[in-house]
């Protein structure tokens, strides 16, 4: 039986979305796919949390969106990273590195 995948902590999703978009513009469905692929399926993104996250990040100004044509010639809304978003990604990455190091230290203690 497959172990139920743990939930992503709140806020981490934002960082992952930013990371995913740093590799190039993509529509909502594709972002979810990309994240899953990058994580080699260790993670899946729930639609119920993805779009709220996207809207929230867009409100902050870290990504922007526009209508375009998808690979199969359908109209889709594409998101891309802004310059502010790129900076934010760096910030969040370094925060994450710091935190995970700290947590690991604590857990290593016996």
């Amino acid at each position: 039986m497959a172990r139920r995948k743990p939930d992503l902590p709140q806020g981490t999703l934002d960082m992952l979305v930013l990371k995913a978009l740093s590799l190039g513009p993509m529509h909502g469905y594709g972002i979810g796919q990309r994240i899953g692929q990058l994580a080699e399926n260790m993670l899946t993104v729930e639609e119920g949390t993805l779009y709220p996250a996207l809207y929230r990040i867009e409100e902050h100004g870290w990504i922007e969106s526009e209508w375009s044509t998808s690979e199969n010639n359908r109209r889709a809304r594409f998101y891309n990273l802004t310059r502010a978003g790129r900076k934010q990604l760096q910030v969040e990455e370094s925060n994450w590195a710091y935190l995970s190091l700290a947590v690991r230290k604590i857990l290593k203690a016996s």
Partner: protein, 933 residues
Amino acid sequence: MRALRYLYRRLQALWRSEDIHSEIAEELSFHIALRTEDNIRRGMTPEKARREAERRFGRLSAIKEEGYDVRGGRWLETTWQDLRYSARMLARGRWSTLITILSLALGIGVNAAIVTAYKAFFVRPLDARNAGEMVNIAVVRNSGLRDYTFSHSDYEAYRDSVSAFSGLVTYRPMQVRLSNAGEMISQRAAHEQSAMARLGLLTTTASNAEFAHVFVVSENYFSVLGASVLQGRTFEAANTAGAGSPAPVLISENYRQRRFAGDPAIVGKTVHLNGVAVTIIGVTPRDFVGTGVSTPAFWLPVSIEPLINGDSRWLLSRENRPYRLFGRLAPGGSIEQARTQIVSVADRLWNQNDSKAESNTPATRPATALVWPGSPFPLPLRDLLGVDLAVGLVMFGAAMLLAVACANVGSLRLAVARSREVELRTRLSLGATRARVVRQLLTENALVGLAAGGLALLLSWALLKVVVRAIADALPVQYGTLVFDVSPNLAIFAYVLLISLIAGLLSGLSPALQSPRSALTSTGRASTTSVRTRRLQGVLVGVQVALSLVLLITGSLFVRGAINSLAMETGYESKQVVQLNFQFPRDPKYSEDRRVAVANKLRLRMAALPGVSVLTSARPPGIAFRTAAVPVDERRQTAGTGQSILHYTYVQASYFETLGIPLIRGRGFEGETGAGQFVVLSESAARRIFVNENPLGRNIRLGLVDERPHPNRELVAVGTTYQVAGIVRDTRGWSFDRSASEQIYLPLATGRIAHHPLLIRVQSDPLSIIRSAERAVASIDPEVIVTSSTLEDALRQSTPFIVSTLAAAISSSIGMLGLMLTLIGIFGTVSHVVALRTREVGIRMAIGAQKQDVLRLILHEITRPVVAGLIAGMALAAGVVYVLRGMLYGIKFVDGSYFVVMSLLFLIVALLAAYPPARRAMKVDPVVALRSE
């Protein structure tokens, strides 16, 4: 940047809300479609694939809503909800809402009215097409003197040499005698019936001639201004040279209505102005004022001046400089260009003419020119004495009134909010965020503010229109019709909108910030309010009281000042002295000798009238020219140190007796014939020149005494030397400083009496003397124009008196309004306090409190802030009065007891206002109160 994007999205949502919904839906359905395809590829049936795809979204509609909100759509609907809810809540608290709106409307309305009146009167442009292109002109000399009137030859020089102007016009107002104009309306009757005369603001003149107020303008006036005519035509340069046919004039529509009963055949009619025949060739539109502020009776071309003034060389003489110049900037011309060109022309003119004159000094050379946007006022407003200060003061008073209104509304709203605590708590517990609740309360206040602003705008516009209509007809016919444009323009509208929003939000802000917090913390049933809210309410009441007290005290002081200026001790008899001005027509047959003969006959005739005790020829006190004076040591004939600048006037020996000015030392001009070398000084003049020494018999040297105005820099004591014969008591002048009391009385030569009015001391009724004077002049020489009034009436026309009256009227009105607002505020606040504390009162009465105790309890809560406000108000008022002391006529020092008395009065009135609602508390039935919830 983020804020901008936020705003931009919200604005976009206004018209794109449908689109936003569909965009989000499209985006999500795209996602679902891809997922469905994926599922099908994995082997699900299409139906199951789709259902699984949708299931993964979970709360699809919730996501759509959130997206819509983020993309800017939600705010519209929540605002609309807020508006409807606010409207409902306001309608429920009908009375308090009404009082709130009225209070705010009062405060805002006063501000709006003042701003509109200011714009209509002071900031008014010229009545011309494309008025923005018109400018005024003045030349500033090295001495600092500003020349805004020019001679005709100057005008022609500027007109031809300044290319920055596409047109330059001249203008001067003038009074002429009208005759042969058909039935002569008794001007005295019309005069006396006009509102201004009834208010005592115009002299009761007795004239045996009819006058008309006219504008003399250059021939190109109407074409440069771009004005049209109702009937007939305007001047054309070619036709106005004619000596044969009567000169052409235009008549204003207003005058045609008032004087000629709207005669439709007025064009072509002939009348006589100053004895010169003129033909009316056109009618200017109603209320057209051109470069003035009132409509004239007639418009005269400049070419008529030699005829009207009885001097064929009138226009050529550079001594005659009455014309004001107005220019229209040429396309591409700028004010800077105009300025430089004007200065160079002025300089050229000065070199040609003035530099050779005897009075030439470098001080008269032109230094620069003033060119400013066209206005009927001769100088830029900054330079018109006192206007800035006066307007600033009035606006400050109005702002204070608005502050009172806001504080008033603030305490009212606070009281209202206290009674809505239950509702707010409920909303919070149902899930509303604090921000949302605050937003709704703010919307409510903004709504109140806007309603008040709309009402204020309407009321002030209506009121001003009524006032303007009244003023327009207030002046007698010959002065024309004053025209004001009081319709609010965009700027005023925006201003009112802004202050009503601010006022509404400000006054409602404190409850909005307070209530949610207190609502969150208190539990259970409504208890009596938190200390903090009570304190805030007290502060608001205190602020109202303080500001109102300041307004009241200032207003009442201005009223006292006005009364003072009326009742002031002038130092001479003003009620029983009649001033008789006589003017000779501009006709060569009136030689100097003839004039003197007529004047002498007049004197004899007047002296023989019953009731006349003594008369003299002199200008009345107050018409003042200034000159320099230095004491001279008779032994060494050298001038003393430091010259003083004093007023002087030419009088005869009988002057002092006529006016009842007592002689203190020495003698008058008795026994002098003709112009002697003696002068009489007033007490303060003697003190100024001779300080502590005995002035009798001493000599003084004076400067220019030609009875013309000169700037101070031209007054140098290098003229004749006179000996001091006597000292008389001071007379009080009209100016607020005491310099007008320092007078030098010079002897009037008998040959000059034709140029001075008669001052006649009467024992009986002055009015009958005035009538007799008219008849006397008519019998001696009917062509002489006579006007007369008592000196008292002339005083009432003086500027300081009018200013102090106006100031009194305005400030006392504002003070009264402030008081009214504060009393309403106190009444409302106490009512609410009573309503809220009903339960508490019931408990107290149940455990034995008497009615008086209850009354004392309620009143106590209001008394403390009122007293605190009064104390603060007194301190503030003291400061304001100190700043204004220069403007308060005759009040040099205000003692503290006056403040205390006013404050006590205020306190009593405030308590009276609080009494009725407090009495309601006394009537509470304890049983009912305890049960009510």
